[in-house]
Symmetry: C2
Subunit: 203 residues, 2 copies
């Protein structure tokens, strides 16, 4: 936070963060299959061998970007939920809207964070608990629909499957593609309707 403007040739100072930022931009502008070490380096204005000092290969870069992606994703859900009152149905529908907005705004990042196979890629991601960032929001918001003493995974599986399926199908244009004006418009209404019928089990 001092003379970041100097930008001397060596010692970028914050290259790791800059590379992650470059990766995000590449995801937005070029897509997931263009996310390479060399492209990130080029975009950050640094030699292509430089990233090796900060990431353990391309898998490490993807893991770091995923972690940031999960945080952004979680904030989408929280922001949506902060705009509604305490009604359980309003809240569950809100986080689902946040889910879909995120998928629409950041399709490649959405694809990245959900392409990680938790078990098989475990060794590649030492901080694999980072892959659960956001799950707490789903869990908390589902609680009113979970009968006391019952396993919350049932409701969580129902809600998550429903919204995730809609999101992925929408991104591959199975419902005519995302509506840029309102990704949670008419096409999403059937999902909302089903959520509306979830019975509240405790208040």
């Amino acid at each position: 936070m001092s003379d970041r403007t100097s930008k001397s040739a060596h010692h970028h100072g914050n290259l790791r963060a800059a590379l992650i930022e470059s990766g995000m931009a590449i995801l937005i502008e070029e897509g997931l299959n263009k996310l390479t070490l060399r492209r990130c380096a080029a975009r950050a204005g640094v030699s292509h061998a430089a990233p090796a000092h900060h990431f353990d290969g391309v898998a490490g870069l993807r893991a770091a970007i995923s972690e940031e992606g999960f945080r952004i994703f979680r904030n989408y859900m929280l922001d949506a939920r902060n705009n509604v009152g305490p009604d359980p149905h309003d809240r569950i529908k809100a986080i689902c809207r946040g889910y879909i907005y995120f998928a629409t705004d950041h399709p490649a990042l959405f694809e990245l964070i959900f392409s990680i196979k938790i078990i098989s890629d475990l060794q590649d991601f030492p901080g694999s608990d980072k892959l659960a960032i956001g799950y707490d929001v789903l869990h908390d918001t589902c609680t009113p629909f979970v009968e006391a003493g019952h396993d919350p995974i049932v409701v969580e599986t129902q809600v998550w499957s429903l919204v995730h399926g809609f999101g992925t199908l929408m991104l591959t244009n199975r419902f005519g593609g995302p509506n840029p004006d309102d990704p949670c418009g008419p096409a999403f209404a059937p999902v909302m309707a089903l959520l509306d019928h979830l019975p509240v089990k405790r208040t």
Copy 2:
């Protein structure tokens, strides 16, 4: 169907079909990112320039394999539905089980056929109506749950989102990974339960 055993150097005779078969094997054994023209050619025992006579680039190969994949996928749903009686809930649950069995048996093929973005990749796939193979099964099986005069897309979106979301999340091990013995086991029960509550609108 004559002397296919001769296998003379030139004129393989059925190379297109052999390359598609090779591609299927590669998907099963090596995964989607190993599906290349050169690998298919090598696996079919042919020079790597040969596929150019049968497919329009790697996109054409993927399209041809997708088409076959959609047919297999559809048969999974039909087979499952043929094993149950006429009860609408039994039938809708059956095609969803078929959906999940297919995803478990052919994860890379599942990934391929659902990675195709229908609109943007349209020009790459002249037979893009082939991308809808299987939708008829969903449509027909959902009919009893659609009120007369209402748009069937509502129920179709609900069922499809639910089962597709579960399938994709399961394949990335979000539910502890697919159970090899019974992919439609306890983890899938919440989805089945939700389907059981779909109201029948006509008989």
